[in-house]
């Protein structure tokens, strides 16, 4: 650490600027992908109206979508709208896209947050148990179960849980997230199955990463030294292994959010939970392009920003990395 770069402060600023620039570039490219995907893969007006559209209605919709302008002009006017918070009008529901998706974003955020809060301790517990019995029967049993659960698509997990707990074997939980008015998460009972599905879908990945980094630390020289000095195993785990799990934990939390963002799309549809996942699928089905564009952009942007934050935090909590950046 004594042979660090001559001006670590400057190197760090340079790294940060480059990282921010890359994130901005990625976000810009994402906006192009989203726009092209919803405009260049066919005639949007024709796709929306279907084959039976009359020429008059087609012309009217093409005018409404500004199809007379070039695709570049349309892209920039859309992008300008995104920057000023004007996401356009929903083609099916009427009303602005912002007003439509705002409450749905909140609903999904609550679902993701509750799932994340449950996932961390569960995955951490499984990882510690497996790492401490590394190579023994308990460890391999946990690994095989995790492997099997990780293989299952989210909707398969969801439907198996519904069959088990709601309709076929036991009938103790509601299978759809309907609430009498108010946001869906106010119906606590109906939240159990969606959250449980997301937890089962993500825990195998998180616990696998945590287990690997725990094993690496537990087999490292300094933990071995601590053991030789007579430190009890539990204390060795707590004092050394967990302290060294901060960096993997930051990265895992960022990854977890990315997995949950994909997971909610399917899981919300299994349980009819009124969030962005269900809204996105409905919008794709109805070819409500402004809603599809807004949600796709939002989901990808959250991923980029969360990863940016995770990378910066990783560098900040690791002195070794902070001075090594070029």
């Amino acid at each position: 650490m004594s042979r660090s770069a001559p001006e670590p402060g400057r190197a760090w600023t340079k790294w940060l600027l480059r990282r921010l620039g890359l994130a901005a570039l990625t976000l810009w490219l994402i906006s192009i992908v989203v726009f092209l995907a919803t405009n260049a893969l066919g005639d949007p007006a024709r796709a929306i109206l279907g084959r039976s559209a009359t020429p008059e209605r087609l012309a009217a919709l093409q005018a409404r979508l500004h199809m007379d302008q070039s695709i570049v002009e349309r892209y920039f006017s859309w992008l300008g709208g995104v920057f000023t918070g004007d996401l356009g009008e929903s083609l099916t529901g009427g009303g602005s896209v912002g007003a439509l998706i705002g409450p749905r974003i909140a609903n999904s955020a609550v679902l993701v947050l509750i799932a994340a809060v449950v996932i961390i301790p569960v995955a951490g517990f499984l990882a510690i148990v497996a790492a401490r019995r590394h190579g023994k029967r308990t460890d391999s049993l946990i690994q095989v179960i995790m492997l099997a659960v990780a293989a299952l698509p989210e909707f398969v997990i969801g439907i198996l849980l519904v069959a088990l707990l709601s309709t076929t074997v036991f009938r103790i939980l509601p299978s759809v997230s309907l609430s009498a008015g108010g946001p869906p998460w106010t119906n606590v009972q109906a939240m159990v199955l969606p959250v449980l599905t997301l937890v089962l879908a993500v825990v195998p990945y998180v616990s696998r990463i945590l287990r690997a980094s725990l094993i690496e630390v537990l087999e490292s020289d300094y933990v071995e030294m601590a053991r030789l000095k007579g430190l009890p195993e539990g204390l060795a785990v707590r004092r050394h292994a967990l302290a060294n799990a901060v960096v993997p934990a930051i990265q895992v939390m960022a990854l977890q959010l990315a997995w949950l963002a994909g997971g909610i799309v399917v899981v919300e549809n299994v349980f009819q939970y009124q969030g962005i996942g269900m809204t996105l699928v409905d919008a794709v089905r109805n070819r409500d392009l402004p809603v599809v564009q807004a949600l796709a952009l939002l989901i990808a942007a959250v991923y980029v920003v969360v990863n940016l934050i995770a990378d910066v935090l990783t560098i900040l909590v690791t002195p070794r990395l902070r001075t090594a950046v070029r």
Partner: protein, 284 residues
Amino acid sequence: MNGSWSRAFRVSLRYPRTWAGLVLTGVIAVVALLGPLLAPHGPNDIVGRPYAKPGGKAAFGTDYLGQDVLSRLLEGGFSVLVTAVLATVLGMVVGVVAGLVAGYAKGWLDEVIMRLTDVVLAFPQIVLALVLLTVAGPQQWLIIVIVGLSHAPRVARLTRGMTTTLATREFIQSAEAMGEPRGRIMFGELLPNMSGPLLAELGLRLTYSIGLVASIGFLGFVADPRAADWGMMINENRLALLVQPWAILAPVIAIAVLTVGTNLVADGIAAAAANADQNEEASA
């Protein structure tokens, strides 16, 4: 070159989980591929009233229209399996080539390929698929292309990482010194030395492809809504869980067994590859 791939697979057969996975995958693959020949009824034949319990002409009961669940189960795996396999092959080929080029050429080409992977990786795979299907509509070839391309950046990252490590090794440097063409070095020297991890990745990507294709079907995006498709069957019979659970549990279990099987095989290959790596390090 073929040698290194089949060896990587053979080594994995020492692990019981590989065998377990092969058996599970094999059973479902046989059902999916030969099923259409064995189905007792046509997929759209009405054999009874909707949601009839198992028995009589329909061993697994009937679905929401009164179609035979067993026949549709036998018919509905083919499209899922073939679509997933083709998408996986496409994603592996594109990803491996992009990763090799990025990792070996370095410079601006590397930079461009990596930025493109950043963009695709920002979208959860299912979101990318939905966005690309919005205007074009669910067509079979498009689903193959989309699922394949959504895998490519992930495969490219892995391949690029291995390429940059291997490129510093002695046998590559001596091949370069002897003036071997770059293409031959990439595909003749570098690629065979990644066979273990890439084969494991292939298994993993197949697992995710099956899940993704089935999820797209479950969300209702299939080319022909009347055709039998495991994902779509689960969607259209959602209400059956209370009255006729087989209409929905049969395809759910088929998908579950298939994905667990392919994932077990992938893990067996990965474990074998990791072990081979350690042995090599120990002997070096």
